[in-house]
């Protein structure tokens, strides 16, 4: 496997005056309570993970869980108090100011919850801003920005000011701006949280469409578990600065690591999250009917087909090899009975 794009090794972020000495004294055993008594607040507590190329990691947590702080450590908007962060093998915390600016100008893009558009610039000027900062001349940067305007579907509004746009449109500008320099790594800090539910859904679909096309390495912050499930390749659930569990959506739903995670998963409709392969029986490949379903289908999409069968259904992989089977009872159990089993 190639080198991970983002790699964190026990990252700590502690706010407070003598945070560093306290962290040293704690010797890797940071307890939020004792720190708080000494006037320090723990933002991120021993975060270690990797994000590989083209992967979307969604960091989920309620407000104050440290998810935004973690993101700001990795984008180095704040300096981590301890630990190591590597961006494509480069040690982020050892970069000097110039190298950091270079990295941001070419490799990173970020979208913000409150859009953070420049109020004095029009849509196209806002999008062209990172390019102009890089030193690209006005004509070229505006042309490039116009491509981005089209990409996010804002053509015809390029000369509007942010204040003249709706929330969803403003965030489209924010997304276009973050993509203008064609970054490899894309940070999104609760990009859709300030939007209405309908617009939010629309933007999520739009976002998935974009990602399919662009295949960026993404860190996506949200406090909405459904959003995380919908978008993520992997989800990291944070609480009080600690990553409680980092896994695929299916695994988080099926095997919640802690009580806290389990509470989140309780209300989740399984059929929307789990894939066929998550519930199939890979040993029994006999006595099966004619219907075949792909192993990486979401259950909801094929449930009806399977339930109309009397027999067990074959599960195949992309090369049309049978890898397991699934019978309708299993589907019914998953959809209706799962919750009882857990209780």
């Amino acid at each position: 496997m190639s080198e991970p794009v983002i790699k964190c090794e026990s990252v700590y972020k502690i706010f407070g005056e003598n945070a560093e000495t306290m962290l040293k004294e704690a010797n890797g055993n940071v307890d939020a309570k004792t720190f708080q008594e000494n006037g320090c607040i723990v933002g991120v507590n021993n975060a270690s993970f990797e994000v590989s190329k083209g992967e979307m990691l969604v960091v989920m947590g309620l407000s104050g869980s440290g998810k935004s702080t973690l993101l700001r450590c990795i984008s180095r908007l704040t300096d981590a108090t301890g630990g190591k962060i590597f961006i494509e093998g480069q040690d982020l915390l050892n970069l000097n100011n110039k190298e950091l600016i270079e990295l941001r100008r070419n490799k990173m893009g970020m979208v913000f919850q409150s859009f953070a558009l420049l109020p004095h610039k029009t849509v196209v000027e806002n999008i062209a801003f990172p390019l102009q900062i890089k030193g690209i001349n006005t004509g070229e940067s505006i042309n490039k920005a116009m491509d981005m305007v089209k990409l996010v579907g804002l053509d015809g509004r390029e000369n509007y000011f942010p204040r003249e746009l709706s929330g969803g449109q403003q965030q489209r500008v924010g997304i276009a701006r973050s993509l203008a320099v064609e970054p490899d790594i894309w940070f999104l800090d609760e990009p859709f949280s300030a939007l209405d539910p309908l617009i939010r859904k629309e933007m999520q679909d739009e976002f998935l469409r974009l990602q399919e096309k662009l295949q960026k390495t993404i860190m996506f912050i949200t406090h909405d578990f459904d959003e995380a499930l919908k978008l993520a390749d992997r989800i990291a659930i944070m609480k009080d600065g600690i990553i409680e569990q980092l896994d695929t959506p299916a695994n988080i739903v099926l095997n919640p690591a802690t009580e806290y995670v389990r509470k989140f998963t309780e209300e989740v409709p399984r059929e929307k999250v789990l894939l066929i392969e998550d519930v199939m029986d890979s040993s029994a490949t006999e006595n099966i009917g004619n219907l075949k379903v792909l192993r990486d289908e979401i259950i909801e999409n094929v449930a009806e087909k399977i339930l109309t069968q009397e027999k067990t259904v074959a599960v195949i992989d992309n090369n049309n090899n049978i890898v397991g089977s699934i019978n309708p009872t299993k589907i019914i159990n998953t959809v209706f009975g799962g919750r009882k089993n857990n209780n």
Binding site: M108, M110, L118, G174
Partner: protein, 717 residues
């Protein structure tokens, strides 16, 4: 007793008032006490006491300490003065190379620095002035007088007024469209036709140097304060004092440091105009949302780009208000600095006021106001301008304004040349209309004033007498009757009740400084005039503001009126009142009232506007009447903001009271004016200025603390 339990604060305030009045009645006026009218009166009086501190002898009339505190700070002005002179004349003498005489000369360091600064300012002013009016000085600065004598052709010719007028119209068109262009053209033509061209251009050249310099300094210091806590802490007290310091008072020490003339005026203007610019820059930069800053960082901005491409443009609104303030201060200083020999409209205005030629004063004042409004609108339009990237323009379209200006240049010069042939009597009206050859309406106004005086003399006089005898004199007497100790108890007590120990200590310090200076009586008179002005202003302002708020159009109209009135230099307000009421306290007070009503009205409207619309709806749904809504919902919520308006009203009133000394009042301002013509006045002027500033700061501290608490209580930001 129920009431007292319900409102414990009320009881405390009552107690404070009882103590205050008890002290007032307990302490009798000493028999020897009288209001000291002139400084000369107590130069050599055998009844005086003396003390010596730091080698300075202070003489004063001793009273019971409860009645008036001894002027223990009396040495301060003398000490400041001596230090200034020492700094200028004896401190750190050094050898400096003199270009003119080609030899080294020994000069004190500070003197050399101020002289160089002055020379630089003079050069800048002369440069712009000579582009507009013509002259030699700029060329001399690069060559020498000998060279000029050898080359008599070398002279900046100056621009004909037609070109300047058309040029400003084109610039206005480019910045703000047709309306502004028409206004610019008309204003300039008016100035020219009415023979005010030369002084106006002198004033303009002064402004064009002072305003940009103040802007640059204010902005950079604001940025520095934003970046470093230490700089901010160092600047903060200065900013605070400068905000309430009367502009007059700065003139005096600057006179010592920089001498007399336009250059000194520019430097003083900067001293006065920079603090509000710093404050507003800081305010604006602070208000930039953190996510916008992060967005800038993530776009790869370096520190420089972050500041100038993200922070400052985002904070533009506040910085623009700062620019507006700078322009306003520049114009009001353009008049005031005429006291120290700045040329231009201000000088004419002052001269006319001195001669009681109201007509001339009115004309000069009108010109100043016209230029002020024009520059104000142009700077606003400039800041709001947008770039069109997609217009596919050819060469002519892109450069039409420059081309048009070139054309105007040629036409203007041709006209001026034609004029020089046509007008045989020596005045080329197409080049410049001389001061006394323009149309003058002065006679008309003077006759108008005379007519008003003749017709309404009886009524005006009756009103005047009534006001002075029945209202002002008793009020003044009451203020002077307060024993010092009672005043201090009242002020400190109020500070304690409003803001706790901290507030009490601050207020106590400020009051003690004034009480220990030799001018307590004068400070009381200043306060009485300001109080009277503020009370009337607030009544008018709050009423007008509330009434105007009832209708959208009248709200907008009133805010515009406030904007325009605020652009007038403060001195201009003295003209109409002197027209009507002559040289009396009434005139000053009416000027104070008119001037101070502006912030009172504006803040009332803004306060009422800031009441959230959700509350309006909620109130309406509870079935309130218009009056109930006003008194139960809008006033309580708008009150903190209105109190900030009161704060501004007090500052405005104090300014005007001090300026009113020009007409003749017996307050601190009178002494400041005296200090201006006194060779050793620098220390006195500065200390007096600080006293006035402290009066303002006492109220400022009390009101601000109260407002902050109240806002927190109401949960509004």
């Amino acid at each position: 007793m129920e009431i007292l339990k319900k409102y414990p604060k009320l009881f405390q305030w009552l107690f404070l008032l009882i103590v205050f009045f008890a002290l007032c009645f307990a302490i009798d006026v000493p028999e020897t006490y009288k209001f000291i009218r002139g400084q000369a009166e107590f130069v050599k009086d055998p009844n005086q006491s003396t003390f010596v501190f730091l080698g300075k002898e202070v003489r004063y009339y001793a009273f019971d300490v409860f009645w008036r505190l001894p002027p223990l700070l009396g040495w301060l002005p003398i000490w400041i003065n001596d230090s200034l002179f020492f700094l200028m004349n004896d401190w750190m003498p050094m050898e400096f190379w003199n270009e003119d005489t080609q030899e080294y000369k020994t000069r004190p360091l500070v003197l050399q620095i101020t002289r160089n600064l002055t020379a630089f300012m003079t050069f800048l002013i002369e440069l712009i002035r000579e582009i507009l009016l013509g002259g030699l000085e700029t060329i001399v600065a690069f060559t020498s007088w000998d060279w000029i004598d050898a080359n008599p052709w070398a002279e900046l010719p100056g621009l004909p007024w037609t070109i300047v007028a058309a040029g400003s119209a084109i610039l206005a068109y480019k910045l703000g469209g047709r309306g502004l262009a028409i206004f610019a053209g008309l204003a300039m033509t008016y100035i020219s036709i009415f023979g005010q061209w030369k002084p106006s251009m002198q004033t303009l050249s002064f402004i064009l140097v002072a305003a940009p310099l103040s802007f640059i300094f204010g902005l950079s210091l604001g940025i520095a304060a934003f970046k470093s806590k230490r700089v901010e802490k160092a600047l903060y007290p200065i900013l605070l004092v400068m905000q309430t310091m009367p502009q007059y008072a700065v003139l005096v020490p600057a006179l010592v440091l920089f001498g007399v003339g336009d250059h000194a005026a520019v430097i003083i203007t900067m001293i006065v105009a920079v603090p509000p610019m710093i404050l507003l820059t800081l305010l604006g930069l602070r208000a930039v949302p953190p996510e916008v800053i992060e967005a800038g960082r993530m776009s790869g901005c370096n520190n420089w780009q972050l500041m100038f491409k993200v922070l400052i443009p985002t904070a533009r609104r506040d910085i623009l208000i700062g620019v507006n303030q700078v322009i306003m201060v520049c114009f009001s200083m353009a008049v005031i600095s005429a006291f120290i020999g700045a040329k231009g409209l201000g000088f004419n205005l002052l001269l006319a006021l001195n001669q009681l030629n109201i007509g001339l004063a009115l004309e000069a004042g009108l010109c100043i106001s016209l230029i002020a409004i024009l520059l104000d609108k142009m700077s606003l339009a400039w800041a709001n301008k947008q770039v069109d990237y997609f217009g596919n323009l050819n060469f002519f379209q892109r450069n039409k304004n420059s081309l048009f200006f070139g054309l105007i240049m040629i036409v203007g010069i041709a006209l001026a040349y034609f004029g020089s042939i046509y007008f045989k009597d020596g005045y080329n009206y197409l080049f410049e209309v001389p001061h006394n050859k323009g149309i003058s309406t002065a006679d008309f106004w003077n006759k108008g004033v005379d007519w008003i005086f003749d017709t309404f003399f009886v009524y005006i006089k009756a009103f005047n007498t009534w006001l002075i005898v029945e209202v002002l004199q008793p009020m003044r007497a009451l203020y002077l009757r307060m024993p010092a100790i009672a005043t201090i108890v009242l002020v400190v007590g109020a500070g304690y009740l409003i803001g706790g120990t901290r507030s009490a200590l601050v207020v106590c310090g400020l009051t003690l400084f004034i009480a220990l200076s030799p001018w307590w009586d004068r400070a009381l008179v200043t306060t009485y005039m300001a109080t009277f002005g503020v009370i009337v202003s607030c009544i008018i302002g709050f009423t007008v503001g509330t009434l105007c708020f009832q209708n959208k159009h009248s709200t907008k109209f009133m805010l515009n009126v406030c904007d325009i009135f605020q652009t007038f230099p403060s001195f201009v307000y003295l003209i109409p009142v002197m027209m009507l009421f002559g040289i009396t306290d009434t005139s000053v007070l009416i000027a104070v009232i008119v001037y101070a009503t502006i912030p009172a009205t504006r803040y009332t409207i803004e306060g009422l506007r800031s009441v959230p619309s959700g509350l309006h709806d909620a109130a309406t749904m509870s079935g309130v009447t218009k009056f109930q809504r006003l008194f139960k919902i809008e006033f309580p919520l708008a009150f903190p903001h209105m109190m900030l308006g009161l704060n501004q009203t007090i500052v405005f009133a104090l300014f005007m009271v001090i300026i009113g000394a020009f007409i003749g009042t017996e307050d601190l301002g009178q002494y400041i004016l005296k200090a201006l013509s006194d060779k050793k006045g620098a220390g006195i002027g500065l200390t007096l200025g600080i006293c006035v500033a402290f009066i303002g700061l006492i109220f400022d501290n009390l009101i601000r603390t109260w407002v902050d608490k109240r806002k927190k209580h109401l949960g509004i930001d």
